[in-house]
């Protein structure tokens, strides 16, 4: 089954009227947004604002109550066979805050397992590809180590390589540096920067404002389940329009 991709559609992801609630609590309110191909979007906002929930709805790790999220022209929240959902998910890279590497597999097996088991890539080809990806994140010498032997920053870089191994056109990052010691944040951001430079479509929830300023094409500021500001980093950092965004930036400077 090949997804119907209209070449003129410049959007990799289109979020339309997405709402989600837990009981009475409205986590996401009528969110409308698009991510263009090759665009790097940084989502920021105060904690509890719905940033992580939003990014997790994009590969349907969270269900939504209404609305649609289309990825390559297909609504990922439409009723569909589990197989089709898995197929869609395999083309959306996801990097977790807590890395979630598979501790029972070596680093290279972490990276090569899913191409073999999900896409049916031959084992030796997947292995070689994994080594290339590990080289790209600077960890080829750790190929035979186990996740438990790596630092947090190294684990997160392996997690990025693992997501890249599925050759996704889009990568989602859910606070990829929040669980790291400060001295390890830089190495992960450097990998993300190089991905952005290669033209990867990226959506990142992060508190790293330096990264947002340098790498993002656009910033979405989210508060109480709504995107209240969408702006270029230039506009956002020098002249935020919404008072909540102004306060957020002021708090960051302290």
């Amino acid at each position: 089954m090949t997804p119907s991709v209209s070449p003129q559609d410049v959007n990799a992801i289109r979020i339309s009227k997405v709402s989600k609630q837990y009981g009475d609590y409205q986590v996401l309110k009528d969110i409308d947004a698009e991510v263009a191909r090759g665009e790097v979007v940084v989502i920021c906002g105060p904690s509890g604002s719905g940033k992580s929930t939003l990014i997790r709805t994009i590969n349907r790790l969270e269900e939504i109550n209404s609305g649609a999220i289309s990825f390559d022209g297909q609504n990922i929240h439409a009723p569909m066979k589990t197989r089709d959902l898995n197929q869609l998910r395999s083309r959306i890279g996801f990097v977790f805050q807590n890395f979630n590497l598979f501790p029972h597999l070596s680093v290279v097996d972490n990276v090569s397992m899913s191409p073999v088991r999900v896409k049916g890539v031959a084992r030796d080809i997947a292995h070689d590809k994994a080594l290339l990806l590990l080289d790209r994140v600077g960890l080829v010498d750790k190929a035979n180590a186990y996740p438990g032997q790596l630092s947090g920053g190294q684990q997160q870089r392996v997690a990025i390589a693992r997501a890249l191994a599925m050759e996704p056109p889009v990568m989602l990052f859910d606070e990829p540096t929040s669980a790291l010691d400060p001295e390890m944040v830089g190495e992960v951001l450097a990998v993300m920067k190089s991905l952005a430079a290669d033209g990867m479509t990226m959506l990142c929830v992060t508190h790293e404002m330096g990264f947002a300023r340098d790498v993002a094409d656009r910033i979405w500021f989210i508060d109480a389940g709504q995107i209240i500001e969408m702006a270029t980093p230039e506009e956002f950092f020098t002249n935020p329009r919404h008072p909540r965004a102004q306060r957020f930036l002021a708090d960051l400077r302290h």
Binding site: T82, R89, N100, L101, P103, M113
Partner: protein, 252 residues
């Protein structure tokens, strides 16, 4: 006393080893080992299926298995054995060999217990691993097979081992429905000698201990190998130089 034991061994070793085979059914230690091995080999995969059913989101899978587990846990094994021994032929009219009755009962009983161990192992892993697998495009069964179960089963080795050991010991209950196992053979010996029950049953205890100890030892070795591999100590001889690897089953 030692002499008595040696004499019993000398006179009856073949009966204890294979029962009355080839003049009768295979029995003795051989049959105990076969019954134990088959019980474990069948109960283990069944327990994984039961655990997955218990964790299923479909009530029609979850409920029957939950009932089975609760009933099995709440009834003594001996009751179950007697039930299946007397009721199955009564209800079906089929002449079921006592070995098959024993095997089936033991498999269902131990699988129910083991399924709770497996379920606990899966639940204890948390959501992160399943989410990571899903995000990479794995289906439920792929995620279970390649991500969740290898970790959950490894973490539960000590509890799984305990259940295996108790399976071996529970084969002795086959005695009450005339399954010709080691216990049955020992009691035949005892009936012939009449005056040396202590010696006969000491032999029996030592043999069971040896079997269970061997299994524990094998599992311990297996666990140690996996732990060392995951700690990256592959091929490292002087493990003492590095922090000693923690083996859970040592605490048993």
């Amino acid at each position: 006393m030692i002499n008595d034991i040696v004499a019993i061994f000398h006179d009856y070793w073949l009966l204890l080893l294979i029962g009355q085979y080839p003049n009768g059914p295979l029995g003795g230690l051989a049959n105990t080992l076969i019954l134990s091995a088959l019980s474990i080999a069948l109960a283990f995969p069944l327990s994984i299926l039961l655990a997955l059913a218990r964790l299923s989101k479909w009530p029609f899978l979850r409920w029957p298995v939950t009932v089975l587990v609760y009933v099995t846990r709440g009834v003594p094994l001996l009751m179950l054995i007697l039930w299946s021994y007397f009721l199955v032929p009564l209800l079906t009219g089929a002449d079921v060999p006592s070995f098959v009755t024993m095997l089936t009962t033991l498999v269902v009983y131990q699988a129910a217990f083991l399924s709770e161990v497996v379920r606990a192992g899966i639940v204890a892993l948390g959501h992160g691993q399943m989410e990571a697998a899903k995000a990479l495009g794995h289906g439920y069964f792929g995620a279970m097979r390649f991500v969740i179960l290898p970790q959950a089963l490894y973490n539960m080795i000590p509890s799984i081992l305990s259940t295996f050991v108790s399976t071996i010991k529970d084969t002795t209950l086959g005695y009450v429905i005339n399954v010709p196992d080691l216990t049955f053979a020992a009691s035949q010996v005892n009936n012939q000698l009449l005056t040396q029950p202590f010696q006969v049953f000491l032999i029996l205890a030592v043999i069971y201990y040896a079997i269970c100890w061997s299994l524990t030892h094998v599992a311990y070795r297996l666990e140690r190998r996996i732990t060392r591999r995951r700690a990256g100590l592959n091929g490292v001889r002087a493990a003492t130089v590095i922090a000693p690897v923690k083996i859970i089953s040592e605490q048993l």
